[in-house]
């Protein structure tokens, strides 16, 4: 059971369909594991339905319904047949394959590896990166420019705000300087959506600055 959840405003933007794909992916991955937030989103979807109902209505073209029937009649495959509900691949598997440990990771400072997957989301303004901290490893202290939305995909990390386990959701911004440590016996892998690059705060590590290009 996850302990760190998205806030209601973010879930509302998700329900309204207004989040970018990378942000929606973070929310989806959390929802898939969190019944508490799923039920919040269900309620927000109902709010969307009620809003749609209470707004003005606009008449459709006279021929609209006939067109629809013509389309249905001309395409028998579109008859409602029970779609086989095969277990769907998680969006993560579709995107990254079965083993997120086995990716072309790029080793950065000591314990940190990164993999930039921004190009998997064409047309987005945000950077999307996977970060891996080896079990027991430490990341250099850093703050964030803009905001960074992160979901833990594997393992856990801890910083001064607490412990973040698998599927926990966290948003960090300019005020949050942190120095995460991977806890537990697994490497900690996170997926982050960055509205702007991070900024290292240590004097020495600033020179190495892996996240700023």
């Amino acid at each position: 059971m996850t302990r760190h959840h998205p806030d209601s405003l973010t879930l509302m933007e998700f329900s309204a369909g207004n989040l970018s794909e990378p942000h929606a992916l973070c929310i989806r991955l959390h929802l898939d594991q969190c019944s508490h937030c799923r039920s919040r989103v269900e309620t927000l979807d109902s709010l969307g339905a009620v809003m749609m109902d209470q707004q003005p209505k606009v008449s459709v073209a006279d021929t609209s319904f006939e067109q629809l029937l013509a389309r249905i009649d001309s395409a028998p495959v579109e008859q409602p047949t029970p779609v086989a509900r095969t277990p769907r691949l998680s969006p993560l598997q579709k995107l990254l394959g079965d083993d997120i440990n086995d990716l072309p990771w790029k080793r950065q400072l000591g314990d940190v590896s990164v993999l930039d997957i921004t190009e998997k989301f064409p047309g987005q303004s945000e950077r999307v990166v996977l970060q891996k901290l080896v079990a027991g490893g430490k990341a250099p202290a850093h703050t964030h420019r803009g905001s960074e939305t992160t979901i833990v995909l594997q393992g856990a990390f801890a910083d001064q705000k607490g412990v973040f386990n698998q599927w926990d959701f966290v948003v960090l911004n300019e005020q949050d300087e942190h120095k995460p440590v991977a806890v537990g016996c697994e490497d900690c892998i996170t997926l982050s959506v960055l509205s702007a690059p991070l900024k290292l705060t240590g004097t020495f590590t600033r020179m190495l600055n892996p996240f700023i290009r």
């Binding site: 302990r3 760190h4 959840h5 806030d7 209601s8 405003l9 509302m12 933007e13 998700f14 329900s15 309204a16 369909g17 207004n18 794909e21 929606a24 992916l25 989806r28 019944s35 508490h36 799923r38 039920s39 919040r40 269900e42 309620t43 927000l44 979807d45 109902s46 709010l47 969307g48 339905a49 009620v50 809003m51 749609m52 109902d53 209470q54 707004q55 003005p56 209505k57 606009v58 008449s59 459709v60 609209s64 319904f65 067109q67 629809l68 029937l69 389309r71 249905i72 579109e78 008859q79 409602p80 029970p82 779609v83 509900r85 969006p91 579709k94 995107l95 998997k120 064409p122 047309g123």
Partner: protein
């Protein structure tokens, strides 16, 4: 055991005094979702009369939804796509998992997202489908049924919404109907982002939609 329970319930209903029934009737209508059974008819028997009733009610809503979302040139097309999707998926509709209007809203939202995505890029570029990210209620078979919660919540939202100040409804409407982020709403209304967020939070609290932003 089951039989006993059922028949005793049945007896209670029969014996209930008329006054109690009257009192129940004064509660706002909506104990039952009027559109759910129609949707089920479409799913089970491809009932075109039921499909037409759904179209008459929801198509004008969806057309407005498209226009307010800045898709005036594609509004009819969105209506068509949403209703084709309703036809094809109606056999998966489960009234215990979502009120029909909620289910239809999620389809409209997804078709809007899908249409915009397809305008922006080729399908080869889309590793993830819209519905991998935004699911339709009932698609996930493993999901436990939470019918009472769902049906209650939609009715409750409808009732409570009429009690909210206009400024709160305006903000929510812009988020849902105009595809605007909280920041864009703030810019448009020329009020601080914090004010927009607090209006939304106040509204959601009053709607009892969300109380728990704390860790659970």
């Amino acid at each position: 055991m089951m039989m006993t329970v059922q028949s005793s319930n049945h007896a209670t209903v029969k014996e209930r005094p008329v006054t109690t029934l009257e009192q129940q009737k004064t509660k706002p209508e909506g104990r039952k979702d009027p559109w759910g059974p129609l949707l089920e008819k479409v799913g089970k028997t491809q009932d075109r009369a039921a499909y037409h009733s759904l179209f008459e009610h929801f198509a004008p809503q969806i057309k407005y939804y498209a226009i307010s979302n800045g898709m005036a040139n594609h509004a009819e097309e969105l209506v068509q796509e949403v209703f084709i999707s309703i036809w094809r998926r109606s056999c998966l509709y489960d009234w215990r998992k979502a009120a029909a209007s909620t289910w239809i809203f999620t389809i409209a939202r997804n078709q809007r997202i899908d249409m915009l995505r397809k305008m922006q890029r080729s399908s080869a570029e889309m590793a993830i489908e819209t519905e991998d990210l935004w699911q339709i209620p009932g698609d996930n078979e493993d999901e436990p049924v939470t019918s009472l919660h769902r049906l209650m919540s939609e009715r409750r939202i409808r009732e409570s919404l009429s009690l909210l100040p206009e400024e709160q409804i305006t903000v929510i409407a812009k988020v849902y109907m105009e595809h605007k982020s909280h920041q864009m709403v703030a810019d448009e209304l020329q009020i601080p982002l914090g004010t927009v967020k607090s209006r939304v939070r106040l509204a959601l609290n009053k709607l009892k939609v969300i109380l728990q932003d704390q860790n659970v």
